[in-house]
């Protein structure tokens, strides 16, 4: 991005009617590692890539449980994400205490968006540098929302944010029409495949990704590594048998398309690596 004289302050407009500080904050989201969400009528699945900086360290937590019926996946400045998760948990528990009823996710999302908007209109603040994929339930069923640093929020059938998310988005765009009536397990499978798209040829294994599910009758929880690995193995065997089905990468706009075409034999080796 270019430097210019209107980008020092979040309260300074550019002549073209833009707030550059807010746009730069949205850039921070694009630099974070990928997070994906998709939903059916009754379930929402969140998935993210967990890469540790080096072999010695642990990876950062990117999926947070906010309440039994709401969870969030973040991309961008993890510290900002943690603070916003704490706010969301606080709002949920206060509502639960007063009304003995779960806070509808649509209302939490608006409160979060209003909180983010405040930071775009105070000279002594800066916008939050984190994008949030909020998955939750309310009276009308399962919902997935995306909250961005600008204070905007959108509802999605499926979405991906973070680095190399375009590959995942392309896969989701092709498949999203089937999501509404998908079973819970199919949704998780789609989430894993979408994650694999962002890995650019790297092997998909449960140690580098996290999956979480929330649904009608199912409280928000993260799936454990073993379950995830079993699911990966299950659909990768299918993928090996049908090479044409394994080429979603070739239609992606990413430069790593060539690597995708080579991946099936590598993925056949994946289970043995664990």
């Amino acid at each position: 991005m270019f430097r210019n004289q209107y980008d020092t302050d979040v309260t300074t407009w550019s002549p073209a009617g833009r707030l550059f500080q807010v746009e730069y904050a949205m850039e921070a989201v694009k630099q974070g590692s990928a997070a994906i969400g998709l939903r059916s009528k009754s379930h929402v699945v969140l998935a993210c890539v967990n890469k540790a900086n080096n072999e010695l360290s642990s990876h950062q937590k990117k999926i947070f449980k906010v309440d039994d019926h709401i969870g969030v996946a973040i991309a961008g400045l993890t510290a900002d994400g943690r603070v916003l998760s704490r706010y969301m948990r606080s709002e949920c528990i206060n509502y639960s205490f007063t009304y003995e009823s779960p806070l509808p996710v649509g209302r939490l999302v608006v409160q979060l968006a209003d909180k983010a908007q405040v930071c775009t209109q105070r000279s002594w603040k800066r916008p939050y540098g984190v994008g949030l994929l909020v998955a939750g339930l309310d009276e009308s069923g399962a919902h997935l929302y995306y909250n961005c640093p600008s204070g905007n929020y959108f509802e999605y059938q499926a979405f991906a944010i973070g680095s190399r998310s375009q590959a995942a988005k392309t896969y989701l765009e092709r498949k999203f029409e089937t999501f509404l009536d998908s079973s819970r397990d199919d949704l998780v499978k789609h989430a894993l495949i979408a994650i694999r798209e962002t890995l650019q040829g790297e092997t998909l294994k449960s140690s580098i990704c996290t999956i979480a599910v929330v649904g009608v009758g199912e409280a928000f929880h993260t799936l454990d590594q073993e379950t995830v690995q079993q699911m990966i193995n299950a659909f990768e065997i299918v993928v090996e048998d049908e090479p044409p089905a394994a080429d979603p990468g070739t239609s992606a706009g990413e430069g790593g398309a060539a690597a995708e075409g080579v991946s099936p034999p590598e993925e056949g080796a994946a289970p043995m690596e664990i």
Partner: protein, 247 residues
Amino acid sequence: MEFAPKQDQSKNPVLIPVDGPIQRTQYPYVTGTSVVAIKYKDGILMAADMGGSYGSTLRYKSVERIKPIGKHSLLGGSGEISDFQEILRYLDELILNDNMWDDGNSLGPKEVHSYLTRVMYNRRNKFDPLWNSLVLGGVKKGQKYLGMVTMIGVNFEDNHVATGFGNHLARPILRDEWHEDISFEDGVKLLEKCMRVLLYRDRSAVNKIQISKLTEEGVTPFPPYSLKTYWGFSSFHNPTVGAEGSW
């Protein structure tokens, strides 16, 4: 919170909070008596008389003590009428804000009941109670709900509830004669039976009762009417026959 020792009107030592305007446990002035409510087949039936007593005087005879709240609930209140009106204002604001979200979600009777419990209990903790016993009933998505909150924050949920004298005179009748999915006609007859006993025995009851019905479709307040009473007992004919000089 700081307390200072003082004496109340009857010279009893009392601790009151020092910070802020001096509050003390109030005395109720204009009060309503019992409210009785039951779950029935299609929803909730609630009955209360229209009396507002000023101490021992039956001063006001057209006080509406049952009000609809939002789309799904009915609130009945006994105790201080001005506090009941204050509660209606709180709930009006609550429902207004809920509607302003305009998002397909709405507060059901359980949520309103929990909210009222919090309000009543917090006021009690400040030694500044709202002097009411409230009955909150409602139907949402086929689920019937009936609950009660008192001025000290005691709250519970049941198939039939009553406030004040109703707890002592009406609930035993309801325990015997209420059953699941009671019909509308039988429900009204049962409530009338309870209200008649209260009319005979509660000195602050007036003979002008109002019954309201709440179902999934909405609230139907019925016009007020009087209960038939019978006073032709033989011992009332010559009351002084056994005791000269009495009245």
